[in-house]
């Protein structure tokens, strides 16, 4: 019997030690790396377990300024900005994140240290409390003095996966592609080189227009449950005297038009009204909170798609769902001051101005349909499909 137990324990310890040791040392997903050479290395375009790597980075970096949201914010918002000079800034937005994931990240960062400023990108379709595509398990949220120990255990659990072992071996064997930098190398912002490579792989911007517009519609939001959860999260941030800037992502006008053709526009208007009301209530309680709308039909979002312009790329967009960081700079400039921004790009939403704003949006949509018949027809077809 003793031999049986010894063989059992020795065999398990050897395999566990070998796999865990290799994965921990190689750490192909950077789940416990920050501010070192490993983070700066070129790697594959797809970031796995980015919720794990970013929560770890936040716990180490302890940012004062935090960006939240999904891949749009992650790609679009640069962390170097004059208004934040001298402060630690981290882009904690996550590809595939739902509102629930962003709320978890906000709680995590606020538990690490009280935040000075939060910039939070929102979209109607992803505004739901469903689990996003991020592997963001609630256990990753910092909560108290035992967090480092708990996090170590979680990391130990995560490194015991065969998938990671495969990626570790590929990396050790030099078989991992070296395309672009990790988002950790840019304080959380996704490297545009990753996106450029992937767009090229899809067959260029032109080929990505339809699938990305269709994908934008998939989300379960906006939901009432999401609004309540956001309200609770904002209350907690405001209680810590955090300055909050919410903004509606400037996805391409085609995506907004597809929402309209999919019959979701009324829900979007109600969502904007609820957001404006929420912001107003928090301001009345003394919170420094503002809400901006960059979406809709303006000089940035109505840029012609390659099929209409004959160009291979778009200046403002990677594809209709994701804006480039030149647009992100305009967003930051509108909210915090900086370079000149087109007059029609970005409006602060308040309950008082909302009816006129929505009216203007409807009129702009009609104008868009007249002036961009190709995009409008595509959006309509995608929504109907």
């Amino acid at each position: 019997m003793r031999r049986y137990v010894l063989i059992f324990l020795a065999y398990c310890a050897t395999v566990i030690g070998a796999v865990a040791g290799m994965n921990y040392l190689v750490d192909p997903y950077l789940i416990h790396e920050w501010n070192n050479a490993q983070v700066q290395r070129l790697r594959a375009t797809q970031e796995k377990l980015s919720a794990w790597s970013k929560t770890y980075a936040v716990a180490q970096f302890k940012p004062e300024v935090l960006y939240l949201g999904n891949s749009r914010t992650e790609l679009g918002l640069p962390t170097r900005w004059p208004a934040f000079e001298g402060r630690t800034v981290f882009n904690a937005a996550l590809s595939g994140a739902s509102l629930a994931d962003a709320i978890l990240m906000a709680r995590h960062a606020a538990n690490v240290r009280p935040l000075d400023t939060v910039v939070w990108g929102l979209d109607a379709p992803s505004f739901a409390m469903v689990a996003g595509n991020t592997d963001f398990v609630p256990e990753l949220v910092a909560d108290g003095p035992f967090y480092p120990l708990r996090r170590s255990l979680l990391t130990f659990q995560r490194v015991l996966t065969l998938e990671m072992a495969g990626d570790s071996l590929r990396q050790l064997g030099g078989r991992q592609p070296r395309i672009c930098r990790s988002s950790l190398a840019l304080n959380g912002q996704r490297d545009g080189a990753c996106m450029a490579y992937r767009i090229h792989g899809w067959g260029g911007t032109q080929a990505a227009v339809a699938p990305r517009t269709r994908e934008y519609l998939y989300g379960a939001g906006p939901t009432e449950e999401g609004m309540q959860a956001l309200a609770a999260s904002l209350s907690a941030l405001c209680a810590d005297a955090t300055r909050v800037r919410l903004y509606i992502n400037p996805t391409h006008a085609m995506t907004q038009d597809a929402l309209y053709w999919a019959g979701k526009w009324q829900a979007v208007e109600q969502w904007m009204a609820a957001l404006a009301g929420l912001a107003q209530r928090e301001r009345a309680r003394g919170c420094d909170l503002k809400l901006y709308d960059f979406a809709g039909y303006n000089s940035i979002t109505t840029e012609a798609i390659p099929q209409a312009s004959g160009q291979t790329e778009m200046a403002n967009y990677w594809e209709p769902s994701h804006y480039r960081d030149r647009v992100g700079r305009m967003i930051l400039a509108r909210m915090f001051g900086g370079d000149a921004v087109p007059e029609d790009f970005g409006a602060e939403l308040t309950p008082a101005m909302l009816p006129a704003h929505l009216q203007a949006l409807r009129a702009a949509r009609e104008q868009y349909h007249r002036e961009h018949p190709l995009e409008a027809a595509w959006a309509r077809k995608i929504a109907r499909d």
Binding site: Y4, V5, I7, F8, Y11, L153, L160, T161, L162
Partner: protein
């Protein structure tokens, strides 16, 4: 803390085991106290707010055991236990209002365990025990969250024996191996079946025939492998400490009739219901009609034990009905080939309200099983429309079941294992040997479980 979590496997368990055997070397009851404290810590890990409730319940019943010789005190003490259980578990159900009361984990298990103890003290079949042993009996972590429902007569003597605290290689070998079998049932089988069942049972899913059968079958096997896996883990863990827990499952889906099923499924709960409910109600002593009444009452209350909802009442009522029909028709005839499948189908149909969120959904799924929601086939089979026209199928596709992926093969494997493979105790009494080959096989199985445990799933039975 779940048994299938890394915190439990690599931190809690080694520390508690080491402390237990180290303290046992010095004699006395220190190791019992250590295990009781570790069990309370284990419970507090779930939600520390309910720890005072468990402690108060232990202290109250410990002292009540000294006075329950009188019937009035027994009634009072059992009444307090039941009121506590009712307040947390049945307040919404009984009042029809939403009190937003969070259910303390394992409250049904520690309440029933202690009621049995009080009743036996009243019957003079048990005497007051030292507080440390009693606290450990109630809070003993392997069983605390999801059973087995322990009986003091089989636990207290083990805690009192000095031999229990001595490490034995045989206990480690068998305990580790039984634990691994349970872990594999949970992580490799039950968790893989969950995605097949959950969408079909969602409110408003309105599944069609194929979806309903696959979903209900998947849940039938998921529940068995989940719960029997948990029981195996509890038994294996307890064996590591030198404490034997009672068996809780004995291949229930091989049962040849519904009475047989209840002798094989959640055996410790069946035993409790028989000894402390069915027999005190009169059992089969006062004629057929009283027996049927007692069977129905026992099963209805057994249903309510699982949860405060009409769906559980219907589940219990169905089993009560099955038992009545079985007893009415039992004529000592020869076993027929269809006994096992018929029993299985009856049990499976009863799991529908057990799992469904409401009776409307349960009725819809029953209808779907009978073909009332139509038959939808994958788009790819459109070319077979002429041959299949007599089934009047649509070719709208299978919405709620992922045809690709590990779910369906795992469902087939689960069925084969449940119907034809030896169960855990048969495996260890007739096949397993402490050989190097078995050791490597068990450790490989353990590693397979470990590598599949990226996400920790809750045990289904901890809800009860």
């Amino acid at each position: 803390m779940l048994f299938n979590s890394f915190a439990f496997l690599f931190l809690y368990l080694p520390v508690v085991l080491a402390g237990y055997f180290w303290l046992a070397r010095w004699g006395g009851e220190a190791h019992i106290l250590w295990l009781a404290l570790a069990s309370l810590f284990f419970y507090g890990w779930w939600d520390v707010h309910f720890l005072p409730l468990l402690l108060a319940s232990i202290l109250f019943n410990h002292f009540a055991a000294r006075v329950v010789a009188s019937r009035a005190w027994l009634t009072f003490a059992v009444g307090v236990d039941l009121v506590l259980l009712a307040a947390f578990k049945y307040a919404d159900f009984l009042t029809g209002a939403h009190w937003h009361i969070v259910l303390p984990v394992g409250i049904s298990f520690f309440t029933f365990t202690q009621i049995a103890y009080l009743v036996d003290c009243h019957r003079r079949q048990a005497g007051p025990a030292p507080l440390t042993q009693y606290a450990l009996f109630v809070s003993y972590f392997p069983h605390l969250i999801a059973g087995p429902v322990l009986h003091h007569s089989e636990m207290m003597p083990q805690f009192a024996r000095a031999e229990t605290g001595r490490p034995h290689a045989a206990n480690f070998a068998i305990g580790l191996s039984v634990f691994v079998i349970g872990l594999a049932k949970k992580t490799l089988i039950a968790d893989q079946l969950s995605p097949l069942a959950a969408p079909v049972f969602a409110a408003g899913a309105h599944p069609q025939w194929i979806e309903a059968w696959v979903g209900v079958l998947a849940y039938t096997f998921q529940l068995y492998f989940d719960f029997s896996g948990y029981s195996d883990m509890a038994i294996g863990l307890s064996q590591l400490f030198g404490v034997k827990l009672p068996l809780n499952f004995n291949s229930p889906y091989k049962a040849a009739d519904i009475s047989d099923f209840w002798r094989r499924w959640h055996m410790t709960l069946s035993r409790f219901l028989r000894d402390y409910l069915y027999l005190p109600l009169g059992g089969n002593r006062h004629g057929a009609m009283r027996r049927y009444r007692n069977l129905m009452l026992t099963m209805l209350l057994g249903g309510l034990w699982h949860g405060a909802a009409w769906t559980f009442v219907v589940w219990g009522g169905l089993h009560g009905l099955y038992l009545m029909v079985h007893h009415a028709w039992r004529g000592g005839g020869k076993a027929a080939w269809w006994n096992v499948p018929l029993t299985f189908i009856a049990v499976m149909l009863a799991w529908v309200p057990f799992r469904a969120p409401d009776l409307h959904t349960a009725a819809d799924i029953w209808g779907a099983l009978a073909g009332l929601n139509g038959l939808a086939l994958p788009h790819g089979l459109q070319h077979l429309a002429p041959q299949l026209h007599w089934l009047s199928p649509s070719f709208d596709g299978i919405r709620w079941i992922e045809l690709e992926g590990p779910g369906l093969p795992m469902l087939a494997l689960a069925a084969l294992l449940a119907f034809f493979a030896p169960n855990t105790q048969e495996l260890f009494s007739g096949h397993w040997t402490p050989s190097a080959r078995w050791s490597v096989a068990m450790s490989t199985l353990f590693l397979a479980c470990l590598f599949s445990m990226n996400r920790v799933a809750e045990f289904l039975y901890s809800q009860f």
